[in-house]
Assembly symmetry: C2
Homo-oligomer: 247 residues x 2
Amino acid sequence: LNRILERRSIRRFANRPVSQKTFKTILRAGQRAPTSCGTQSYSFIEVRSMTKRIAITELVGETQALQSAPIWLFVCCDAARPMKIFETLKIDCHLGEVTRLVHSLIDTSLAAENIVIASESLGLASVFTIYHWKVLGEIAGLLHLPANVLPLLLLCIGYPAEKPPLRPRWRTEIVFHVDRYRLPAKGTILRQYNKSNTSLVRMGYFSKGVETLAQHWQRKFSTKDMILRERKLRRELKRLGFLPETL
Amino acid sequence: LNRILERRSIRRFANRPVSQKTFKTILRAGQRAPTSCGTQSYSFIEVRSMTKRIAITELVGETQALQSAPIWLFVCCDAARPMKIFETLKIDCHLGEVTRLVHSLIDTSLAAENIVIASESLGLASVFTIYHWKVLGEIAGLLHLPANVLPLLLLCIGYPAEKPPLRPRWRTEIVFHVDRYRLPAKGTILRQYNKSNTSLVRMGYFSKGVETLAQHWQRKFSTKDMILRERKLRRELKRLGFLPETL
């Protein structure tokens, strides 16, 4: 339980390899996540080849996490395998595009979080990255993905070489409701925001000219960029088989 | 780690309440999951009201899990709160419909799995259900959800009153790849399928006239039903704000 409560994302890893035995245990833990009707709609792809690592770095940009992590693991939504299994068993089954997306996103994220927690309990650390979303098609090509496989998260795993403070979260009352949903009032939002922001500033969380959480979000989700990114995401998801062409 | 490796879905719960302290710890564990840029795009809604429980049971059908679980927790994708926070902070930020869906599905599922594992480590058990997907709009109404909140998973939590065997998973080699993806060959699929099927039959997993895993899938994902369910899912996701109207 403490492994969960004290888990932080680690972006700097020690120069120490992870044994195959440990890694296998982690993968097995990923597979123990609940899965819709036993379909196990995910695939884990480790990138070991230096050539591929370099190609990916060139596509997504160099980060400390990628540079230092001994394990790069693409956690992928995989509707291709269940669909091939249905075909092989000659059963008349189908998964629509949006069903594929929602079902496999859940299965895959649940498995990914098991991998994260299992890593923690073996003394390892990790961080999810999604920088590759801007080049999903290229990544799919590099990993030889067939249609209906989506490289969702790039998980970096290794022994930690930093111990950042625990990042703030909203007070539980903000995200937890009884019987009916309530959006927090303006005053609550501002109070909670200020608390989180002050704590992040004190931790030295921001860099590159960003000084507040609002600026951080402004940079990450600016309307102008997001319109382009939404368009690109739709195009890529269609291409990969997770949204209908008619969109 | 063993809590993860030995976790099974429990559908029959003991008649024993869960203390508020324990429940709070579980929710806090959910909040410790990694979250994209700190947006925490999820909400947890507990259904305590008997009137609402009865209304939901009427909509989704009675199951042993719903009947016996002391805690019913809707784990919801929540893009409404981040968007209200952006607005309150007067920052020019936006999340497109598909971005909302993908981002919040990941955040929400990661948090949900933390809740599941934290429950295990406190001696509790759980099961996810998605029976309510066929009545998403009605559930949204009952829980007073605004636009951009999607009741993704209904998680039943309580002390276990059964100990089913560990369900089979594909051999790790089937879901794990190095450097490039490979779909399993037909022979491998048939061998793995037979192994899983035999094991599930031996466990007495099937009921209601279903005798094999293939029949189970045939019933769950039949092409005819899935075409209708895909259409309905698209319509509901649009209505809730997680797919563009143009779809």
